[in-house]
């Protein structure tokens, strides 16, 4: 399931409801990304996430579909917030459920890695030195590239 929201959400409540009552699930992995109060030496007052409505949902759905194609997931949840957030607030939640732990953990890592480089979001930081757009990181490209499938044959 994909949810893109301008409202605050509660990761723990989402995790509590995720795969609740299912007895076929052996492992649940989750990742929560939060706004930090600094980037290196620079203090962050707030973060505003801009996104591309429509394309965001479409890309996230494609990424979820790809995860389900690669791993036998029993459930899958991605929540991503946009708008203005302060340090400590959650930006993104990824949760995966599978019969076994490796599938849940790998799919969770895959989802956040691909989301970071493929979903159309942009971060604007309000710092004590003014506002600035966050630049894309080469390390995120490298993390996403780990999951590119090599052509076979």
């Amino acid at each position: 399931m994909i949810r893109v929201t301008g409202d605050p959400f509660d990761p723990a409540a989402e995790i509590a409801a995720f795969a609740a009552g299912r007895t076929d699930v052996g492992g649940i992995a989750s990742f929560v990304g939060r706004v930090r109060d600094r980037a290196g030496e620079v203090r962050i007052r707030a973060m505003t996430l801009e996104h591309y409505p429509g394309m965001t949902e479409r890309k996230l759905a494609e990424i979820e579909e790809e995860a389900r194609r690669r791993w036998p997931l029993l459930d899958c949840l991605v929540i991503h917030r946009y708008g203005r957030m302060e340090p400590g607030e959650p930006i993104v939640l990824v949760a995966t459920a599978s019969a076994h732990r490796a599938a849940a953990l790998e799919a969770c890592t895959f989802l956040i890695d691909w989301l970071k480089t493929k979903a159309p979001f942009w971060k604007l930081e309000e710092t004590d030195r003014g506002a600035r757009w966050v630049e894309a990181k080469a390390s995120d490209d490298a993390a996403a590239a780990r999951w590119e499938e090599r052509a076979t044959g």
């Binding site: 990304g33 801009e50 989301l115």
Partner: protein
């Protein structure tokens, strides 16, 4: 055709979107960029820098040689930084 700009490209062009009718000789993303560069001088330098501007045609990532004929919506934006 709706042209959309996101993040600091939006700030650079001064608008989030505009409805335009590119001339018939605009076949590809590259053609569209050249045509838009004339309309938005501050956008021109950005478009010229390699790897800085990404594009989506009808909400799918596109390259310079992607056709834009018949597209309803073309978007320009910097590399994504979500998550």
């Amino acid at each position: 055709m709706k042209i959309r700009y996101f993040a600091w490209l939006r700030q650079r062009t001064g608008l989030a979107e505009e409805e335009l009718e590119p001339p018939a000789e605009v076949h590809t993303v590259a053609d569209l960029k050249r045509w838009l560069a004339d309309r938005h001088p501050r956008f021109a330098e950005t478009l010229a820098a390699p790897g800085v501007v990404r594009c989506a045609v009808d909400q799918e990532y596109a390259e310079d040689d992607t056709p834009v004929g018949g597209a309803r919506e073309v978007a320009f934006f910097p590399p994504v930084t979500g998550g």
